[in-house]
């Protein structure tokens, strides 16, 4: 199975600041989660893959086209990808349908009938079919987020890139979005802070920190890195990365030396992520 997208020695600098360190990576069919703290380089990585941003160095292949080579290749790649940015400022005065119809024209849907049918399809996918004629300014935050996602779904792209798509969605909407994404056939790359999304949806997890990929594997493999390192006991573990009192009154400790009478519990993706972050901070000499 060939890669839908690939980074080959790609780095990105803004002036002297390095946003993405030299990275080599391949993305294939399936849902890939990109986890990382704020400022880790997630959005830059997604913008590089979406062709919205040129790399400082390296080569990027998207749906078989070297997007760093020519504008024509970027256009070909853009025809085959969908991208939902983290923050979207919607045009004024447009209805939900009008906005998607305009974006569909920008995505080269020329025949009016087919375009309108496609717009209605993606509106239904994100449960906004009944809000089609409503002005975007009158939609709630969650509805606007779904509208932003809807535009990225136009044309059923081979590569779908979503930057924190579940932000602002209620649990029901998040579950609905997960269901939608899991049904897609192509490659889906999601940047998120919601570890729950990763554990329930993603076939593969990338953890990025300080512009570099620190972990690349499946969810079970990520969980494996935290196996035996999460405890539940009457008191906190010594030197734990994070501790908190649970609803049962017991203290859950991630990492560290477990207190007597503690028991090992199954780690969550969040536990594994916290441990990875801790290792990275130690490596960087941050206390």
């Amino acid at each position: 199975m060939s890669a839908t997208a690939a980074l080959d020695g790609v780095s990105k600098k803004y002036g002297r600041a390095t946003a993405v360190q030299p990275t080599t990576l391949e993305l294939r069919a399936g849902v890939v989660g990109l986890l990382g703290p704020n400022g880790a380089g997630k959005t830059t990585m997604l913008r590089l893959l979406s062709t919205a941003l040129p790399p400082t160095k390296g080569r990027i292949m998207v749906t078989g086209f070297d997007v760093t080579e020519s504008h024509a290749n970027r256009v070909e790649a853009r025809r085959r990808l969908g991208y939902c940015p983290q923050e979207v400022t919607f045009p004024r005065g447009m209805t939900a349908f009008g906005f998607l119809d305009y974006v569909a024209v920008l995505k080269e849907w020329k025949a009016t009938g087919a375009r309108h049918a496609e717009v209605r399809r993606v509106l239904d996918l994100v449960d906004l079919g009944e809000r089609a004629t409503m002005k975007v300014s009158r939609l709630s935050g969650g509805q606007r987020r779904r509208l932003a996602i809807a535009q990225s779904l136009l044309g059923t792209p081979d590569l779908l890139i979503l930057d924190e798509p579940t932000t602002g969605l209620d649990p029901e909407q998040r579950a609905s979005l997960r269901s939608l994404l899991s049904d897609l056939a192509g490659t889906v790359l999601i940047s998120t802070h919601q570890t729950e999304d990763v554990s329930t949806l993603c076939d593969r997890v990338l953890v990025i920190d300080a512009g570099a990929i620190r972990f690349d594997g499946t969810v079970p493999e990520l969980l494996g890195t935290a196996a035996g390192r999460v405890h539940l006991g009457p008191t906190a573990a010594v030197g734990a990365v994070q501790t908190w009192k649970t609803g049962t009154g017991l203290v859950r400790s991630v990492g560290g030396q477990p207190a007597p009478d503690s028991c090992v519990v199954d780690p969550s993706v969040e536990d594994a992520y916290l441990l990875l972050r801790s290792q990275e901070r130690t490596r960087q000499g941050v206390t």
Partner: protein, 294 residues
């Protein structure tokens, strides 16, 4: 793979869309309604205004051109926001710019109608006391009216497009339209004098007006320096330059070629501007006939 239907051109689809958006702008309809009301007033000679023929075209220039600047600025920002919301789209900024520029067909059409009305009105019932100064044909008057009315109705929106490309900030269109009006008023006599030859480098000017050169109550029709035929060509060149400069903003455009075209248009505009000043009347000619009702 996107199931894009490959019929027709993207530019054509987008241009149709932008034309519809322009037609949907309330400010455009406000300007159009007022322009058409003034056309009716002129056509049926309801105001009995003995003023210059140039004044007939203030309505399309201000109500379609200046307001068009605001309309087009808004449409361009809207298009940019939609493109930004989609992250990266196949259609280039260049294509979007050309589609937006093609939407000027809307104010152009209304302005042409207004121009035809003004021409008919001028022939059916010319201003009272109107005396054609020596060497002036009707075509001379029509050229001024076309430049002041039709070209400004197109040039205003194109200026809005250009501003949205290079100064996409809130309030820029409003400030620009106010400055445009102030500068135009000042250049009609307040700042440099309405008879200075170099006033023709501005987007709006009079070549034929009436004033009180003979003292209070002694109004005469006056021909100002310059050549309105060449001035229309100068304005056409400026409009073309505006479109090229707006397209040039696209980082993915062929900037080297566009810069050459832009340079050629700048040279052409300067040459036409100088020719407008120097070919034709070089100084004001005041008609000896006193306008009895001005």
């Amino acid at each position: 793979m996107s199931s894009t239907t490959a019929t027709g051109s993207t530019l054509r689809s987008l241009a149709r869309r932008e034309i519809r958006s322009y037609l949907g702008a309330k400010l455009f309809w406000f300007g159009t309604a007022l322009t058409l009301v003034l056309d009716v007033v002129i056509l049926f000679h309801l105001d009995n205004d003995p003023g210059s023929s140039g004044s007939y075209m203030i309505a399309p220039a201000a109500l379609l051109g200046v307001l068009g600047l605001v309309v087009m600025f808004g449409l361009t920002r809207r298009s940019d926001r939609a493109a930004e919301a989609a992250g990266a789209v196949a259609v280039s900024e260049r294509t979007r710019t050309l589609a937006l520029a093609s939407a000027t067909i809307v104010p152009f059409s209304v302005a042409i109608f207004s121009f035809v009305v003004a021409v008919v009105a001028l022939n059916v019932h010319p201003p009272a006391g109107y005396v054609v100064p020596p060497g002036i044909s009707n075509a001379y008057v029509y050229a001024q009216m076309f430049g002041d009315g039709v070209m400004c109705a197109v040039g205003g929106p194109l200026l809005g497009l250009l501003l949205a490309r290079y100064l996409p900030k809130r309030g820029v269109a409003a400030v620009a339209s106010v400055l445009l009006v102030i500068m135009t008023i000042l250049l009609q006599g307040g700042l440099v004098g309405g008879e200075q030859p170099y006033r023709v480098f501005w987007f709006w000017t009079y070549f034929l007006s009436q004033g009180s050169q003979g003292g209070p109550g002694q109004h005469h029709f006056t021909t100002h320096p310059g050549n309105p035929y060449l001035w229309v060509l100068y304005l056409v060149t400026l409009c073309a330059l505006g479109v090229v400069a707006a397209v040039l903003h696209d980082p993915d455009s062929d900037r080297a070629s566009l810069k050459r075209v832009a340079l050629g248009l700048v040279v052409g505009a300067v040459v036409l501007g100088v020719l407008t000043m120097t070919v034709g009347f070089t100084e004001s000619v005041v008609s000896p006939e006193v306008c009895p009702v001005c």
